[in-house]
């Protein structure tokens, strides 16, 4: 993906729902994976591969579309495919209080 194409999916905090890490979550990065303690259930939750890459992206608030674009560029797959795949992950991690959903300002 070119810089121009990435710019087209730039984040607009006024209109876009964004996701970011919940600062209360305890986590560790290992090679190719991220491990979390979910506040909502016992045990450790692990994201591998592209899921771990998604976590890396969410250091800063990011929209679904932009996250999909960045991962699509990295893994060389269509944006819509990635978007379809990561949307339920974002929702699940939000419900587990691992991510925080930021409504448009």
């Amino acid at each position: 993906m070119t810089t121009q194409e990435l710019a087209e999916v730039a984040v607009d905090p006024a209109h876009d729902v964004r996701y970011t890490r919940d600062e209360r979550v305890l986590w560790r990065r290992t090679v190719g994976a991220v491990h979390f303690l979910s506040p909502m259930r016992p045990g450790v939750l692990t994201l591998y591969g592209a899921g771990a890459a998604l976590w890396d992206l969410l250091r800063e608030p990011c929209t679904l579309r932009r996250a999909a674009a960045l991962l699509a560029a990295r893994y060389r797959v269509p944006i819509d495919t990635v978007s379809h795949d990561i949307e339920p992950i974002l929702e699940e991690l939000t419900s587990q209080q691992i991510l925080r959903r930021i409504e448009p300002a």
């Binding site: 919940d22 600062e23 209360r24 979550v25 305890l26 990065r29 290992t30 090679v31 491990h35 450790v44």
Partner: protein
């Protein structure tokens, strides 16, 4: 007094600039691998092992890779559980307006290593004002903690060691320390000074908690490296090197505090051991100072007396007073014993802090 560490020094040194230690040629034999993986777990070095494998510095078989991953995941899971206890403990004490400073594991992991996964830790250690220890214990008991059957320092109480020990609702140990070293060493630490110069504000799990200042923190790392004769000695020496080769404190500030606390022997020993064990070639101002420092035999006897598992040997109050190197220290120590009783400390060994 010797470092007496056991385990793969190359692994403890992995990733440090200036180390002359190299990983062995791999893949290792079954026996060699079994020993390495056992040491990596015991010495809290599994993160370095994973990094060495990932970098291609250590060749492994697919089975060995899988085993290393499993061990590191297990260690990581344990550390996250301890971190949860740390966050809950710090949060409860903050809510009760008990002033604390965070010590050891969380600070090292989050501030001194490039990735917190490289520095697993086992326990929660917080510095609390002597006068607040009983109140802090009461707060934590009200939050579901229990008294530790054994005190932090050989089943004894505040007077013999550094503080009080509790067990979290998850069964993990929480140490509330009022100084940074056991016995006469700890009494020479200027406790007021520990609170006058706050360090960095560390944010973990949404909780903000202040560290010691950089010089005090480095001396605490040195005490631990010298006095802790548990199986994790190598990681304690790595901490010393990691700090000096990374986010190093200002040399003059460290030397000033070490002189004020008469902690030069502990600091010189820790640095010398770290440089020797990890085969570090880089010469820094403090490593050169440590190399040239001549340790007084009385100071060495004092360090030996307090060395033990976890750096927590408690030889008893009279013995502690007698190993204090100078007459002034012996008197100071015995006066301090009497003073600490005023803070609700039950002096009977094994009884811990009176509520």
């Amino acid at each position: 007094m010797t470092a007496g560490h056991h385990g793969p020094a190359w692994l403890a040194a992995y990733g440090l600039s200036g180390t002359l230690s190299d990983p062995p040629m791999g893949p290792l034999s079954d026996a060699g691998w079994a020993q390495l993986i056992r040491s990596a777990r015991a010495q809290q070095l599994s993160g370095h092992l994973m990094r060495a494998i990932d970098d291609g510095a250590l060749q492994v078989t697919p089975e060995q890779q899988e085993q290393a991953t499993d061990v590191h995941l297990s260690v990581t899971t344990e550390t996250l559980a301890v971190e949860k206890s740390f966050v809950e403990t710090a949060g409860a004490l903050a809510a009760a307006h008990v002033d604390v400073r965070v010590l050891r594991g969380p600070v090292l992991a989050h501030l001194d290593y490039p990735d917190p996964g490289l520095r697993p830790y086992h326990g929660v250690h917080l510095l609390v004002h002597s006068a607040d220890i009983s109140r802090a214990v009461a707060v934590l008991l009200a939050n579901g903690c229990a008294r530790s059957a054994a005190g932090p320092y050989g089943g004894s109480s505040l007077r013999l060691g550094k503080g009080a020990a509790l067990i979290s609702p998850a069964g993990l140990r929480i140490d509330l320390d009022h100084t940074l070293a056991p016995g006469s060493l700890g009494l020479r630490v200027n406790r007021d000074q520990l609170w006058q110069h706050p360090g960095t504000v560390l944010v973990v799990g949404g909780v903000s908690i202040t560290t010691l200042d950089a010089a005090q923190r480095f001396l605490h790392i040195c005490y631990h490296a010298v006095l802790d004769q548990s199986t994790s000695r190598l990681v304690a020496l790595r901490d010393v090197a990691q700090k000096l080769l990374g986010t190093a404190p200002e040399t003059a500030a460290v030397r000033t505090v070490a002189a004020a606390w008469r902690a030069e022997a502990a600091m010189a020993t820790a640095i010398t051991w770290a440089w020797r064990a990890l085969r570090l070639a880089d010469v820094l101002a403090l490593s050169a100072w440590a190399h040239d420092y001549r340790i007084d035999p009385r100071d060495e006897r004092e360090l030996v007396a307090f060395a033990g598992p976890g750096g927590t040997s408690a030889p008893g109050p009279w013995a502690e007073a007698m190993v204090a190197p100078r007459l002034r220290d012996k008197a100071h120590y015995l006066v301090a014993l009497a003073r600490d009783r005023r803070f609700g400390v039950d002096p009977t060994p094994g009884r811990g802090v009176a509520s």
